[in-house]
Symmetry: C2
């Protein structure tokens, strides 16, 4: 019956972009390519007021739609970053953009807010990416101490 309950909620699960990434990276890449990259997030002007107070936070969490990822069916198992020497893993154990729902999340430094424009550092999103949510980064809620990760995460 769970399937029926969930299906009934589908009609409301449609996303509307709230903004777009400008000066984004050129393509999905490795961390050194984006960690110091400065990008702008242009929020729809109808939502400018909804940003008030965000400048009090040093960091924000950006949710975006990975519009260049593969659409349709996605492979359930992959090698992280396409590297055959890394283990074959379920897609949910990785950060691949090719996911059932192509939402990316990135924690970035908020350098400046000017009206409807957020200037951020460290955004791993391609130029023209639709932005779907902005949240303040809250240590202790969004972070945990001493998290364990498998060895492949830190391999090059």
């Amino acid at each position: 019956m769970a399937g029926i309950k969930m299906a009934s909620e589908l009609p409301s699960m449609t996303l509307k972009p709230i903004g777009i990434v400008r000066k984004g990276i050129k393509q999905a890449a490795v961390k050194r390519d984006w960690e110091k990259k400065v990008s702008d997030i242009i929020i729809n002007t109808s939502l400018t007021e909804a940003l008030d107070g965000l400048e009090e936070f040093s960091h924000i969490v950006v949710l975006y739609w990975m519009h260049q990822a593969v659409s349709g069916e996605v492979p359930l198992k992959i090698h992280p970053r396409g590297k055959q020497e890394l283990p074959l893993l379920g897609l949910f154990a990785t950060r691949t953009p090719n996911r059932p729902n192509r939402i990316g999340i990135a924690t970035v430094r908020l350098l400046e807010r000017q009206g409807n424009i957020l200037r951020v550092e460290g955004l791993d999103a391609i130029e023209g990416t639709p932005v779907i949510d902005i949240k303040p980064y809250i240590p202790g809620y969004d972070s945990v101490a001493n998290a364990r990760v498998p060895p492949w995460i830190t391999s090059r």
Copy 2:
């Protein structure tokens, strides 16, 4: 012209649930009510294989659809947690569930994976919540050191 570009991407921005929260909290509440709460995330069995390797991570990031939030137009400015004594802020400066796109994110401890069931601790999601993505929590990507937050965050 940015508006036209973004509108053209709308058709693909539809979410499909990948699972559902069971043994979830009864209602949106304060942190002490959920930080030790043990919930189950039941992933659709067609996606079971896509979880392989997730058990190597101590923590995961759960993206879910806040199905009980207000639908339609949302207020752009609010008092966090409905408290009049807290400043009036833009919704994006808060974690209110009443957002243009009702996506919640929670970083939780992964206690156990059994097939398509993830048992987690600390999930701030109501019983029956549709789950839309699961990502491994990666310190340094998902966390930052010395983030600054405004004083109202820690007020009771």
